[in-house]
C-alpha cells in the first residue's frame, strides 16, 4: 500500500487532487484521453485547464449523447485507447445505463477474457445542496449489482489522487464517484504521482468500541461524530472501504472482530444500498463477532427533495450516525 505518512504538508482541494491524478496520467501515457460535455471548461473542475496543456484532441468536448459516448469508450478501449469520461453528474449514468451495465461491464466476460477495457467513468455525484431529485442521485448501489465494473469512491484529497491514478492504470472499466460535497474539501496531497490499490480499504480513525464503515461523503461525517463521542468515552473506529468493487471485506471483518459492533453509513438511498450489502455480508460471515444488531444509516427511501429542510430530513445527518452508534451500545 502507498505510504500514508505525507512528508510534504501540501494541502490542496479534493477536486485539484483528482485533476493532479488526471494530469499525471495524461502525461504518463499518451493513449489516455479525457472526454465529456464541456471538459474543456469543466463545471465541476476536475478537468479544468487540462485542454490547454494536452490539446482539444486529448481533452475533448462531446455532444449531449451520454449513451453513445459511454459506449464509444468500449470500442475505443478495445483497440488501444484508455478513455477517461467525465459524466459530470451521477444521475446521468441512467441515460447511458445500457452501454455501461450491459456493454462495458460485460464484454470482457462474454468474450471469454479476450479483451481488456481500460476505461474510467468519473463523475461528481450525490447531493450538493438543493440540486433536487435529478441531480442528487448516488448510483453506486445500482452499479455494485452489475458485475464487471470496479467502483471507487474516495473520501479525501489524498485518496482522490491516488485512486484516480490507479483507476486510469487499471485495465478494466472503473467507475470513479466523487461525492459532490467533497470537491471543496482540502487535505494533504503529495506532489508526486502515487497510487492506491483498488480494493484496499483504509482505517480513517482507530477505535475499539464500534466499527463505523463510512463511504464517500459519509466519512467526514462519521469522523466528526466519532470525535464528538470520544469526549463521552465512546471509541469509534472509522473504516473507509474507498473501493466498493472489489470491497475490502477482510478489513471490515477484522475491525468488527475487534469492536463487536457495526454501523454502516452510506450516502445513498437505503434499500439495496452498499450499507445493506455490507451489513448483510458481516451478518453472514461475522455473525458471531457481533455483540449487537448492526445498523445502517442511509437516505430515506425517497428521491432527494429540493427545499433545504426537506433535503436535510431525507439525507443522513450527524445525529442519525450518533443514534445508530448508541443503538449498538445500548
Amino acid at each position: 500500500m502507498a505510504a500514508k505518512t505525507v512528508t510534504e504538508e501540501r494541502n490542496i482541494y479534493y477536486i485539484e487532487a483528482m485533476r493532479e491524478g488526471l494530469r499525471a496520467m495524461l502525461g504518463e501515457d499518451e493513449n489516455v484521453v479525457v472526454i465529456g460535455e464541456d471538459v474543456g471548461r469543466s463545471v465541476i473542475g476536475a478537468t479544468r485547464g487540462l485542454v490547454e496543456d494536452f490539446g482539444p484532441m486529448r481533452v475533448r468536448n462531446t455532444p449531449i449523447s451520454e449513451a453513445t459516448f459511454v459506449g464509444m469508450c468500449v470500442g475505443a478501449a478495445a483497440v488501444g485507447l484508455r478513455p477517461v469520461v467525465d459524466l459530470m453528474v451521477g444521475s446521468f449514468f441512467y441515460v447511458a445505463m445500457d452501454q455501461l451495465a450491459d456493454q462495458a461491464a460485460k464484454l470482457r466476460y462474454m468474450s471469454g477474457g479476450q479483451v481488456n477495457l481500460p476505461i474510467v467513468y468519473f463523475t461528481a455525484t450525490g447531493p450538493s445542496g438543493s440540486a433536487a431529485a435529478q441531480h442528487s442521485e448516488n448510483p453506486h448501489p445500482m452499479l455494485m449489482n452489475v458485475a464487471g465494473l470496479k467502483i471507487v469512491m474516495p473520501s479525501t484529497p489524498y485518496d482522490a489522487k491516488g485512486l484516480m491514478v490507479s483507476a486510469i492504470r487499471d485495465d478494466n472499466p472503473v467507475v470513479y464517484l466523487q461525492d459532490f460535497v467533497l470537491g471543496g474539501v482540502r487535505g494533504p496531497v503529495p506532489e508526486g504521482t502515487y497510487s492506491i490499490p483498488l480494493g484496499v480499504g483504509d482505517i480513517k480513525r482507530a477505535g475499539k468500541d464500534v466499527t463505523v464503515v463510512a463511504i464517500g461523503a459519509a466519512v467526514p461525517k462519521a469522523l466528526r461524530v466519532a470525535n464528538k463521542l470520544e469526549a463521552e468515552g465512546i471509541s469509534v473506529e472509522v473504516v473507509d472501504p474507498r473501493t466498493l468493487v472489489p470491497l475490502d471485506m477482510d478489513l471490515i471483518l477484522e475491525s468488527v472482530a475487534r469492536t463487536g459492533r457495526l454501523v454502516v453509513v452510506d450516502n445513498a438511498r437505503l434499500t439495496c444500498s452498499a450499507a445493506s450489502e455490507i451489513v448483510a455480508s458481516v451478518s453472514e460471515k461475522g455473525f458471531d463477532l457481533l455483540k449487537a444488531a448492526p445498523q445502517r444509516v442511509a437516505w430515506e427511501n425517497v428521491p432527494v427533495p429540493f427545499s433545504p429542510p426537506l433535503e436535510e430530513r431525507a439525507l443522513i445527518s450527524d445525529s442519525d450516525i450518533d443514534s445508530a452508534i448508541r443503538m449498538t451500545l445500548a
Binding site: I64, V95, Q134, P305, S307
Partner: protein, 334 residues
C-alpha cells in the same frame, strides 16, 4: 377592437398580453439574478432572459388545456403557460406555497392544473413525456396538443429522434420546439451538432420550420400552423427557433466559464431584444402608447417584487413532508 392588421389575425388584446408576458418573464429572471448573487436561491438556476419570444409566442398559440413539457431552463415556459410568479418564486425559495410545496425547485416546477406536465433536469428528458401526453390525448379522442420545448444541445439526445419517429408513425399532436440559443452549456452548438437541427425532421416525414426566435409574432404564427395541423390529426411538427440567452448557462458560471462568448456577439443579440422589438412594433402600429408600455412594465415589476415578498413570507414545509408524496394512496382494497 383591432386598429391595424400589421399583425394579421392577432388581436390587440392578444398582442398586448404577449408583450406583458415577455416582460413578466424578463423581470422575473432579472430578479433571480439579483437574488442568486445575494445567496437567496438554493440549487442551480438557469435563466431564460433573451429568449422570451419563443415561450410566449409558442404558448400564446395554445389553449389552457393544451400541454407543454419543458427543460432545466423552464421559467419562461411556465410563465408563458400561465404560472403565477408568486408560487414560482415560493418554489424557488423551497417554500410550502411553491407549486411543488418546495420539493421540486427551479428545474422541476410543474403545475398539472395548467397542463404543464413536466420541466426536467435531464437534457432531453421531457421529449418522450410530451410525446406521451400527445399520444394519450389523441387516443382518448381529445383535440389537445402538446408542445415539447428543448434546447439545441438536447437535439443530440437519442430520445429526440426516437420521439419524432414514433410521433410521425402514430400521427401524434405534438410540436417539437427546439430553442437554439447557439450554445450547449459553454460550447458553441456548431462544434457538437451536425447540420441544421430543423433538417432532422424531414427524413421522419415531419414538416420542419425554422423561425426567428426573437420575433414573438413569427413564433406565434409558426406554432399556430403546427397546432392547426396537429388538432386536425395531421401529426407532429418540428420548429427550430433561433435565439440567444443573455445570461450565463447557469447563474454563477463566472466562477469557471471564462469569456466563452464574443462580446460583439452578445452585444448584437442584446440589440435585438425581443421585448423592445415587439413593443416598438406595437407602438408603431398604435396599439400601445409608450405610457401604457411603461405601465405594464412597472406593474410586472411590482408583481415580481410582491412575489419575492410572498415567497419570503411563505414557511418552509414541515421536514416530515420529505416522506410524503412518493406514492399515490392505494384505492385497492382487494
Amino acid at each position: 377592437m383591432t386598429k391595424t392588421s400589421a399583425f394579421d389575425h392577432l388581436s390587440q388584446d392578444d398582442a398586448i398580453g404577449m408583450l406583458r408576458n415577455m416582460i413578466r418573464i424578463r423581470r422575473f429572471e432579472e430578479k433571480l439574478t439579483v437574488l442568486f448573487k445575494r445567496g437567496k436561491l438554493p440549487g442551480f438556476v438557469h435563466l431564460y432572459t433573451g429568449e422570451e419570444a419563443i415561450a410566449v409566442g409558442a404558448c400564446s398559440a395554445l389553449r389552457t388545456d393544451d400541454r407543454i413539457t419543458s427543460t432545466h431552463r423552464g421559467h419562461g415556459h411556465l410563465i408563458a403557460k400561465g404560472a403565477r410568479v408568486d408560487r414560482m418564486m415560493a418554489e424557488l425559495f423551497g417554500r410550502v406555497d411553491g407549486y411543488c410545496r418546495g420539493k421540486g425547485g427551479s428545474m422541476h416546477i410543474v403545475s398539472f392544473d395548467l397542463s404543464i406536465i413536466g420541466t426536467n433536469g435531464i437534457v432531453g428528458g421531457g421529449i418522450p413525456i410530451g410525446t406521451g401526453s400527445a399520444w394519450a390525448d389523441r387516443h382518448l379522442g381529445r383535440d389537445n396538443v402538446t408542445i415539447v420545448f428543448f434546447g439545441d444541445g438536447a437535439s443530440n439526445q437519442g430520445v429526440f429522434f426516437e420521439s419524432m419517429n414514433i410521433a410521425s408513425v402514430w400521427g401524434l399532436p405534438v410540436i417539437f420546439v427546439c430553442e437554439n440559443n447557439g450554445y450547449t452549456e459553454w460550447t458553441p452548438t456548431s462544434e457538437l451538432t451536425a447540420g441544421n437541427i430543423v433538417d432532422r425532421a424531414a427524413p421522419m416525414g415531419i414538416p420542419g420550420e425554422s423561425v426567428d426566435g426573437n420575433d414573438v409574432v413569427a413564433m406565434r404564427f409558426a406554432v399556430e400552423r403546427a397546432v392547426e395541423r396537429a388538432r386536425k390529426g395531421e401529426g407532429p411538427t418540428l420548429i427550430e427557433a433561433k435565439s440567444y440567452r443573455w445570461n450565463g448557462h447557469n447563474e454563477g458560471e463566472e466562477a469557471f466559464a471564462g469569456a466563452y462568448r464574443p462580446e460583439a456577439e452578445q452585444a448584437e443579440w442584446r440589440e435585438r431584444d425581443p421585448i423592445v422589438a415587439f413593443g416598438e412594433r406595437l407602438v408603431e402600429s398604435e396599439w400601445l402608447t409608450r405610457e401604457e408600455w411603461a405601465a405594464i412594465d412597472s406593474d410586472e415589476q411590482a408583481q415580481v417584487d410582491a412575489a419575492v415578498e410572498f415567497a419570503e413570507n411563505s414557511p418552509f414545509p414541515d421536514a416530515e413532508e420529505a416522506l410524503d408524496h412518493l406514492f399515490a394512496p392505494s384505492k385497492e382494497s382487494a
